[in-house]
Amino acid sequence: MEEFLSKVHAVLNEKFPGEVLSAELVYDFPVVTVKPNHSHAILQFLKEDASFNFHFLTDLTGVQTADEKELGVIYHLHNLPANIRIRIKTFFSITKPEIKSVTDLWPAANWMERETYDFFGVKFQGHPNLKRILNVDEMDIFPLRKEYPLEDQTRDDKSDKMFGR
């Protein structure tokens, strides 16, 4: 795995100088963190390059960093013939949560990007139909962001100290 990781790191560094922030093994799983601006190009390269051939998008999800200042998008890619997986992370400021959509590379990203938008408010540019998918359409918050409380805010019977409100 280490060999593979250093190969990925070297190739990406050569192709996209300055874009790779880190490359590490997490529980034997190659994880590469890149800057958001060229994440689309990097993903496209990983998908189309014959030696990497990460043609399958296993998962795409959002995350908010612990300091609450950044949002991230995580891509899990899979090369099925060689059975190699890789995780690509990219982080950007919560004040301007925009990133290029990868729906043109993997149609499967369509619903996953909608879900990430639904819960974290990440705006995927170039997405054909970016609207809420799991929550009610009327919802005006992005519920998995830490600034919004988990509890339903319409209850008035749980205000005593027992429930810690």
Binding site: L134, N135, V136, M139, I141, P143, Y148, L150, E151, D152, Q153, T154, R155, K158
Partner: protein, 186 residues
């Protein structure tokens, strides 16, 4: 033979109040209809999660809801009298539940089974409806997480009592109309 009949545990509903004489029995239409309705309710099960499993046990042979005249579940709201909501209702499911209720013909009753349906239960969270009585009127609440089949049956018996004693023209009463209006249902 006479002894056998005596020993039988089958009970027949007691007749309503009325005037009785040789060859005739006079009573109010309401009470007769109430009796008939109460003992032949057609429930529509709206089971969404764990409480639905308890309901399945209630329906199955051991507890046998059919004993109370509920042999037939109605999976069409248009033919159902009793809406049984059992389980967590997500906010996204709310409009569907409401539409099901609106499609039911009068007279209709609603039983809310389990903490989730009654109040949101343990799911005090942005995605879960905090009690179905926020979108439709409820007649009987059955608490518990989940309530066991005996409790569900107890709730059903309460519904039967309601059905027995309610005016057959309840739908025209101003209170009932006001109640529905408060939920925005015509």
């Amino acid at each position: 033979m006479a002894e056998l009949v005596k020993k039988s545990s089958v009970e027949i509903v007691t007749k309503p109040e009325g005037l009785e004489g040789q060859g005739f029995f006079a009573t109010r239409v309401d009470s007769v209809m109430g009796l008939a309705r109460a003992n032949s309710l057609w429930p529509l099960p709206f089971a969404t999660s764990c409480c639905g499993i308890e309901f399945m046990a209630t329906m199955a042979s051991h507890y046998d809801l059919a004993r109370f005249g509920m042999e037939r579940l109605s999976f069409s709201p248009r033919q159902a009298d009793l809406l049984m909501v059992m389980g967590t209702i997500a906010k996204k499911m709310g409009p569907t539940l409401r539409q099901v209720y609106e499609q039911m013909a009068e007279p209709r009753w609603v039983i809310s089974v389990g903490a989730c349906a009654c109040s949101g239960g343990i799911f005090d969270t942005y995605s879960v409806l905090q009690g179905i009585d926020r979108i439709i009127p409820v007649d009987v609440y059955v608490p518990g997480c989940p309530p066991n089949p005996e409790q569900i049956i107890d709730g059903i018996l309460k519904i039967q009592e309601l059905a027995k004693h309610e005016s057959s023209r309840r739908r025209y009463s101003p209170e009932y109309k006001a109640l529905l209006n408060s939920y925005g249902i015509e």
